[in-house]
Symmetry: C2
Subunit: 277 residues, 2 copies
């Protein structure tokens, strides 16, 4: 469910918002290795929307559905005070290949399908009015306004059978690592936070802490997976190079930690909601 | 999608609202003859709600799901300005037995599984402040605050194979007849509007037009079906007596009409939204 008053960054068009609502749903299926099958869309539309706004929403939904190859087969429309785009997306998967959040084992590697911080750095910058949305560096703007779900990578990883657990990073890298660790009853040690170059550069220039933004930002749709060390190559091949090890699975008692020059520090369980306020 | 600012009659509790959101979904499946399989619920919750409100919503959703025998397997929660309860309900049906809106044929009988007007008369009365919600006659209050979906009747009608087309009456009797006629490319002549006694009595006492309320009210969850005259008995038996013929299917060119002492009159395509303003 995407809600206008809380989920729309400054500068996001109605078309982008609707497409992003699709992406968020697809990303959950991608993490399981499931292929989108049919979607239902319920809209709550404020009376203040124009005809053009509504057409933009329809266009964004259609574009997202086309991009991830599923039909929107039904839904509902209503008047509401807040803009609401509520999507239910059903996917199909061979039950034996479904990747859960609960399968990580001590000794597995933790790997990610992308770098973090572009979306959250972009969001922070436009919320702080450091830069107008249209002046954001291209990579940050893409991450914030046109994120992509890692569907093909998720499908290939599930098919290859090389992954022990998986989650998408929509609630933020830190939050998702905690979620994974709780569901699998393990700890995680991250050797280095995978920060996107664009986020790093922009953060350095504007005095932001890129590591914090990458860890606690959220609204990015990468996959975080665990994989047996002996199968890392196979998984990386399945992911066509889009898989980078960032840490290891440890015992639950060791918690969620990040290695730094000064020794390990705790990664807290906070996500983008906390970050925004 | 149930929206607080537009879909909540005065006097409706959060628990009733959540249960009604379930009923509205189940009713759509009932019209097809499909059995609920799994539900997803996305909530938009205003910051002003109390803990008790949220527990009531959860209780109403659970009660509805239990009543119609399906599990709620997932969903989402968000903050929003308006209360939003968005349900996606998936059902299963033997494809050969699915009843569509498009199967009505000239000469079929039109039949309904209940009487109309209780919900709309109750709503009209509390909106007009003719009576406080807690003082509504029991039958009107039940229809308004605790409507039921005709799931068992719908399932039995589909199993019996005696029905040619079906729609639920949630948008109002008149609106749904028009919808059915458009989808089947036929006309419909209603011999008499099936008005509930309680609505009739209350309307007479308070100067309302019961026929109008029953035709154009809405938010009632009966089924409107078409059936070959030779199969009416079988259909009635399948519906365990809850099926009453109210008219016949005619040629499209004859439109949607109601027989009255003064001759036929047109039934307009307007529904409860129109009615409320």
């Amino acid at each position: 469910m995407l809600v206008g008053s809380t989920d729309l960054p400054p500068g996001m068009t109605m078309r982008q918002a609707a497409r992003k609502a699709v992406v968020a749903n697809v990303s959950d299926l991608a993490a399981k290795g499931a292929r989108p099958y049919v979607g239902l869309v319920a809209l709550g539309l404020p009376a203040t929307l124009t005809r053009r706004d509504v057409l933009e929403i329809a266009g964004g939904l259609s574009a997202g559905a086309k991009e991830y190859r599923f039909p929107i087969v039904g839904g509902d429309t209503n008047e509401s005070k807040d803009l609401v785009i509520s999507i239910a997306l059903f996917g199909l998967i061979d039950e034996r290949k479904m990747i859960l959040r609960s399968g990580a084992k001590v000794g597995d590697l933790v790997a990610v399908t992308g770098e973090f911080g572009s979306s959250s750095t972009g969001l922070r910058a436009v919320l702080d009015r450091k830069v107008r949305p249209e002046k954001l560096p291209r990579e940050l703007a893409e991450a914030l306004y046109r994120p992509a779900a890692e569907l093909d990578v998720g499908l290939r990883l599930a098919s290859a059978g090389a992954i022990t657990a998986s989650i998408d990073s929509s609630d933020g890298l830190a939050w998702s690592l905690h979620e994974l660790s709780m569901m699998s009853n393990v700890g995680i040690k991250v050797e280095a936070v995978p920060i996107s170059k664009a986020a790093w550069r922009f953060a350095a220039r504007h005095g932001y802490d890129a590591t914090n933004l990458a860890l606690y930002g959220g609204e990015e749709y990468h996959l975080i997976v665990t994989v047996k060390p002996t199968l890392l190559r196979i998984a990386q091949k399945a992911a066509r190079g889009r898989l980078k090890a960032i840490g290891v699975v440890t015992k639950r008692s060791e918690g969620i930690r990040l290695a730094t020059k000064g020794g390990d520090i705790k990664i807290r369980m906070k996500g983008w909601e906390h970050f925004r306020h």
